[in-house]
């Protein structure tokens, strides 16, 4: 009778599932959900977000929590997979103790989770999802925004960088390398559009897949067009290799990237080739206020590595959410209204990444700075855009 053990197993699974659905009974904590990839190929990024949130939550709890209640961050793994994200989103919506969300990390995962958040009425602040599409899909039927972000949109950074290349650097012939995902394509499209409008020449657009290691064919092809600069729309793990391989084949030109490069590991991976990269960043450590300096030090002491923009943004996003909870209480709808109300620079939250506030679409409006890598360290670029 093979069915017997099986029915047992089936019922165990079903029971487990039902148990998984029952929220914890402890009500003296305020929970926030942090859905991000903690396993799979994007887990390294999820680790960054987790680090930022962890620091803020510990800070709040050390100061006595919110209204005497401790804050608990619930880390939910979604592997950066839209399907998993959709499942996780219902788990979050279902746990009534969770009042707000910091996440998701990836735009595609965020987009897959959004319908649930909008339907069930829980607000999310993404510290990292940059896709332009989120702007169109984050409202309910009444036009209320349920998803905010304190990170630039792809189109903003792409446009900004194209202007920087032209106006501040005076470079005219650009080769474009982009990662074939939502981030890379969004960034690339905005960059190329603005570059063409400014009269720059694009001498080649080449794609690569996440996890690729060999970029020589594309670089060799680009070298034929004799570019004066290389724009890389992607993240640092692949970007560092591109920079390294470009130097090896003799394509030693200034490189430009967006926030995807803002990670100390870039320098480790790119080695001697790291110098000569310009990138956008929401804040400059050198000119940042005392809060940011303290954060940078604490981060390094705690995690043994330099801070990156994802951790910094996650830290601020958590702070904004905690702020909202402190002001209006642990009520999902009120938290959303509060967040939506932060719509001018005056009302904005002054965090370590500058003043965080949202426009009517929940997108952030922050100034961008340019950093560069010089002498194997991130330093502010000599020229900044006004």
């Amino acid at each position: 009778m093979p069915g017997k053990g099986l029915k047992f197993l089936g019922s165990v699974c079903l029971m487990g599932l039902l148990m998984a659905a029952v929220p914890a009974l402890a009500e003296d904590v305020i929970k926030i959900a942090v859905p991000s990839p903690y396993t799979g190929s994007a887990a390294g990024f999820g680790e960054n977000v987790k680090a930022g949130v962890t620091l803020k939550v510990e800070e709040i709890n050390a100061a006595g929590g919110i209204d005497g209640k401790k804050v608990e961050a619930v880390y939910l793994d979604e592997q950066c997979e839209p399907r998993e994200a959709a499942t996780v989103s219902t788990k979050i919506a279902n746990d009534k103790a969770i009042v707000g969300i910091v996440g998701h990390l990836c735009s595609s995962a965020h987009l897959a989770a959004l319908p649930t958040y909008v339907r069930e009425g829980i607000a999310a602040i993404s510290p990292t999802a940059t896709s332009v599409t989120i702007t169109d899909k984050n409202k309910d039927a009444k036009g209320n925004v349920w998803s905010f972000r304190n990170v630039y949109r792809d189109d903003f950074q792409g446009k900004f960088l194209a202007q920087y290349v032209d106006k501040a650097m005076g470079l005219k012939k650009i080769a474009v390398f982009y990662e074939n995902n939502d981030y890379g394509i969004g960034l690339k499209d905005a960059f190329v559009k603005e570059a063409k409008a400014l009269g720059l020449t694009i001498v080649g657009e080449e794609a690569y897949m996440k996890g690729a290691q060999d970029f020589n064919p594309q670089l060799t092809k680009m070298k034929g067009g004799a570019p004066e600069a290389l724009f890389i729309a992607g993240y640092y793990p692949e970007g560092a290799l591109i920079v390294d391989q470009a130097k090896k084949i003799g394509l030693d030109v200034p490189k430009f990237g967006a926030d995807g490069f803002d990670n100390a590991d870039y320098i480790k991976l790119a080695g001697d080739a790291a110098d000569g990269l310009y990138l956008t960043a929401p804040f400059l450590a050198e000119t940042a206020g005392p809060d940011a300096k303290k954060f940078i030090e604490t981060f390094k002491a705690r995690f043994g590595r330099d801070v990156d923009w994802m951790s910094a943004n996650a830290y601020d996003a958590t702070a904004m959410l905690a702020d909202a909870i402190a002001k209006v209480g642990a009520d999902r709808a009120k938290i959303r209204d509060y967040l939506a109300g932060i719509n001018t620079a005056d009302k904005g939250y002054k965090g370590i990444t500058g003043v965080n506030y949202f426009d009517k679409n929940g997108d952030c409006l922050k100034p961008a700075y340019v950093k560069m890598v010089k002498g194997n360290a991130f330093v502010p670029a000599p020229k900044q855009m006004d």
Binding site: G44, A207, Y208, Q213, N216, Q218, L269
Partner: protein, 295 residues
């Protein structure tokens, strides 16, 4: 430019070839697509890095130790996971291979973290950066030369083992007919374990060279490389060792040329398209022996 692309393709192809022989040898003896092979390759890189940093071993020692460890890992994989399923339905072993692949990948992630790590630069000899050969614009560094030499040497060695030694003969006998081989007094399990050890050792070497050459390693690196190498093994004729070597080089060059001249987003597609065409037109692969449907 064409010359440069060919040089790039050759580097890539030789690495694919080293991984591909692991797939093909295991397939030859037990007809299993060992999906965990890509993970062994990844472990090779990480273990080498660990021997260099934690134990401060010199490069050569670290490389050899890592190869030995991975060979042992391959044997362990066979003994623990696949051997108990030798007489079970074939798909059970395949699912086990997938399960082991997930397990090992996540194990690496827990041990070494999920962020990409650079290779230990200090351990590399200085001459690796020096140009070994140059003609026109094309430069080949000593690092690339080392990859060529090591890969080719290892493959020659492998061929010698397979064709000249008793164990190699036993492996070939097993590939032809397991039952007959065991009737001839061949210790089937030992030969299979040996096959796993050989393939895994070579896979580890490929992992080390890749991480050295590109200066990066991360826990999910086994997937992409594994899939490509698998395609290479098929291209050459799965089960055929010279085929896998040849397939690896062909695939590496085709992929590089495809990315350089045709379309970079479809770079991986080139590999699969060639694979499908070869299978349809010449199902036994470029160098494989013809297979007839077993009645």
């Amino acid at each position: 430019m064409l010359e440069q692309q060919l040089v790039n393709g050759l580097t890539l192809g030789l690495i694919y070839a080293l991984i591909a022989v692991g797939y093909t040898m295991v397939y030859g003896v037990i007809e299993l697509i060992n999906f965990a092979h890509g993970e062994v390759y990844m472990f090779g890189a990480f273990l080498c890095m660990m021997f260099l940093t934690v134990f401060g071993a010199p490069l050569i020692v670290a490389v050899l130790l890592s190869m030995v460890c991975c060979a042992l890992m391959g044997v362990l994989l066979d003994v623990v996971a696949y051997r108990p399923l030798r007489n079970a339905p074939r798909l059970a072993a395949l699912i086990t291979a997938i399960g082991m692949s997930i397990f090992l990948q996540n194990l690496a992630m827990i041990i070494w973290g999920s962020r990409p790590l650079p290779f230990v630069k200090e351990a590399l000899p200085a001459f690796f950066k020096v140009t070994a050969l140059s003609f026109g614009d094309v430069k080949i560094s000593w690092m690339q030369m080392t990859i060529y030499i090591v890969a080719v040497a290892l493959m020659i060695l492998l061929n010698l083992i397979i064709t000249k030694t008793r164990t190699g003969t036993a492996m070939r006998a097993l590939a032809q007919n397991r039952v007959c081989a065991s009737l001839m007094g061949i210790n089937v399990n030992r030969v299979i374990a040996f096959t796993f050890a050989l393939g895994s050792g070579l896979g580890a070497m490929a992992g080390i060279m890749v991480s050295m050459f590109y200066n990066t390693m991360y826990p999910t690196m086994g997937y992409n490389a594994g899939v490509k190498a698998f395609a290479a093994a098929v291209l050459g004729g799965i089960g055929s060792v010279p085929g896998a070597m040849f397939g690896g080089v062909v695939l590496g060059i085709a992929e590089t040329l495809g990315a350089g001249y045709v379309s970079s987003p479809y770079r991986d597609g080139v590999a699969y398209a060639i694979m499908i065409l070869v299978i349809i037109l010449r199902p036994s692969g470029l160098l494989g022996r013809a297979v007839t449907e077993k009645a």
